[in-house]
């Protein structure tokens, strides 16, 4: 039995017994209060991060000039650095971080596997293949906020998710998480093979650009890519809002959840589609930034426990703050050079992941 599952069982058992013992023991904090506390706590962290992050960067800014309306914006370097370089970066980091962390929580519950990530089911490999094809074929199509590489990566992610979904729902109506996992892992390696093939036939500079894309980059340069990703994010998060209670029961097992009145098939589909959508949108915006989707949910569980009603919103908020902080490190540590943000998250996430394995093992 996985540690996560054990934990969830404990928590569900705890809520059941606590309801029975309400009269005889001290009244436990109701979920609403705990949710409020959690959201306020992590929300404050996110707000502080988002206020501090744009104040720091590779070049010193004169903040009197940044907000000085008397200087025309086209002449105001400080304002342009603040509003064109830093702000979109921070917003992109917050959105991508929230999406990846929340998707991680959902995938971990759906697959009932503590080591699942948003990229376990092949979404990132599909997105990477799409992005690579766009780079190699030199696609220059862009319409409004949509440009070639994000659109292609979104397409690749959608194809990967669709294949996995189709395979997992083929045999019967409910999703088989085993098939999901196996199909996802297989698809990951199949897409990796295609990526290698495309890399091999591609031009040197294109390969380098594609590899750089895989390392993740939040330097979006304007709000357009964010606007392009927002509708998908909004839909995904709206779907997330339906999930927490069902996920709590689903974590124990499909049969147990079904016995408690959860429409398992529907919950699984909702979880899969919403998490895939959030992941695809995040990847198209910032590249496949790794480890957020596993580090953040686990850190959050250490802090608030395993109830998805708390873990999901807390992970989204903490994921946003975490990625903004990682990006702050990425753009300042070696300034004027920049460390790819995916390298920072991996450097922090890798050792953390190992620690988690050893600790739970």
């Amino acid at each position: 039995m996985s540690p996560l599952r054990q934990g969830t069982l404990d928590s569900v058992a705890a809520t059941k017994t606590s309801a029975r013992d309400d009269l005889s023991r001290t009244v436990p904090t109701p979920i609403r209060t705990r949710l409020l506390k959690t959201i306020v706590g992590f929300g404050v962290l996110l707000v502080v991060t988002c206020v501090v992050a744009p104040l720091v960067g590779s070049s010193p800014l004169n903040f009197a000039r940044v907000f000085d309306r008397s200087i025309p914006f086209s002449d105001n370097v400080d304002a342009q650095i603040f509003f064109i370089a830093r702000m979109p970066r921070i917003v992109a980091g917050a959105i991508a971080g929230a999406a990846l962390a929340a998707a991680g929580v959902v995938f971990q519950a759906l697959l009932r596997n503590a080591l699942a990530t948003p990229f376990t089911l092949g979404v990132s490999a599909g997105a990477s293949l799409g992005a690579m094809l766009a780079i190699v074929l030199g696609a220059t199509i862009s319409a409004g906020p949509f440009s070639a590489v994000p659109v292609a990566s979104l397409g690749g992610a959608a194809i990967a998710a669709a294949i996995v979904y189709r395979l997992a729902t083929m045999q019967d109506r409910a999703m088989s998480t085993t098939v999901l996992l196996l199909a996802g892992v297989t698809l990951n390696s199949f897409f990796s093979a295609l990526i290698m093939f495309v890399q091999y036939i591609a031009d040197f500079a294109q390969v380098y650009r594609a590899i750089r894309w895989i390392m993740g980059d939040l330097d979006v340069g304007s709000f357009d890519p964010i606007v392009a990703a927002l509708p998908m994010m909004a839909i995904a998060f709206a779907m997330f809002a339906w999930l927490p209670s069902s996920l709590n029961l689903l974590s124990i097992g499909a049969d147990a959840a079904s016995a408690r009145g959860v429409d398992v098939g529907r919950t699984q589909r909702l979880a899969f589609v919403s998490a895939s959508l959030a992941t695809a949108a995040a990847v198209s915006l910032a590249g496949p930034i790794g480890f957020i989707g596993i580090v953040v949910p686990h850190l959050v569980r250490l802090m608030v426990g395993v109830d998805h009603r708390l873990v999901l919103p807390a992970s989204a908020l903490f994921g946003a703050a975490f990625l903004v902080m990682c990006d702050l490190a990425a753009r300042t540590l070696l300034a004027p050079l920049e460390i790819p943000v995916g390298v920072i998250t991996a450097m922090l996430g890798g050792p953390f992941f190992l620690w988690l394995l050893v600790r739970k093992g």
Partner: protein, 294 residues
Amino acid sequence: MAAGSKRLIAVAFVLVVCWATRPAAMQQRTTSAVRIVSLVPALTEMLFAIGAGPQVIAISSYDEFPPEVTSLPRVGALLDPDMERILALRPDLVVSYGSQTDVQAQLARAKIRVFSYKHAGLAGVFTTLKDLGAAVGRPAESDNLARQIRTGLDAIQARVRGRPQPRTLLVFERDPASLRGVYVSGGVGFLHDMLGIAGGVNVFADVARESVQPSIETMLARAPEVILEVRATGLLAATDIAQARRVWGALGAVPAVKQGRIEILTGEHLVVPGPRVVQATAAFARALHPDVYK
């Protein structure tokens, strides 16, 4: 009896092989190369420029210049040299990258001479030229070519001397439709050196690397007066120029954008550190100092 004759045949075969390969091995040491395989485009150009073109029998996948090379067989490049084809062509000199140590070891085992190329700045062009001339037995021609290059570069430098030197962002890679994936020249390498001779100041001269991927913030903060985009391939259409201006237009506070000084140069000669560095440097100078080159 049968075993004995087989052994005899084997011994005879070995003897024949030794006899056949020995004179060839001796010949390599005594005469200059007559069958050259070049895996380095810049050095292929040098070989042709010093008159060793007829000796070049095969080239890399990326060679385009001089036009004669297009009819030659291609045997891979830096990452994927086709060893079998190289050996089958029976070269007596293979020009390879210094980092291709496996290739060089294999060639050494086959007793084929190797010219090892180390990529360096503009000064490296001269040392490579001198060594290559010696390796192919054309030292006089290579000295002559080196002098021509030196004279050409000196002339460009003299022409722009005393002019104000614009602070320049030298871009050699960019996502076509956005300011993502921008790569610029740092303070090391032949592109940086050519920019200096052409009368420009590299805004990333302080970064001791050949290539830098600057963030939008650093590009804004470095405030270049000219943005010089160098593209190795493709023809330049009016739409490309318009698109580049639109993309860079996002950084309105940058002096180069404000004054419309976004210059785009195309041609693979711009990114090959070979004999055409003079042409490339002149193109840089024309873009940076249009008034001088009227």
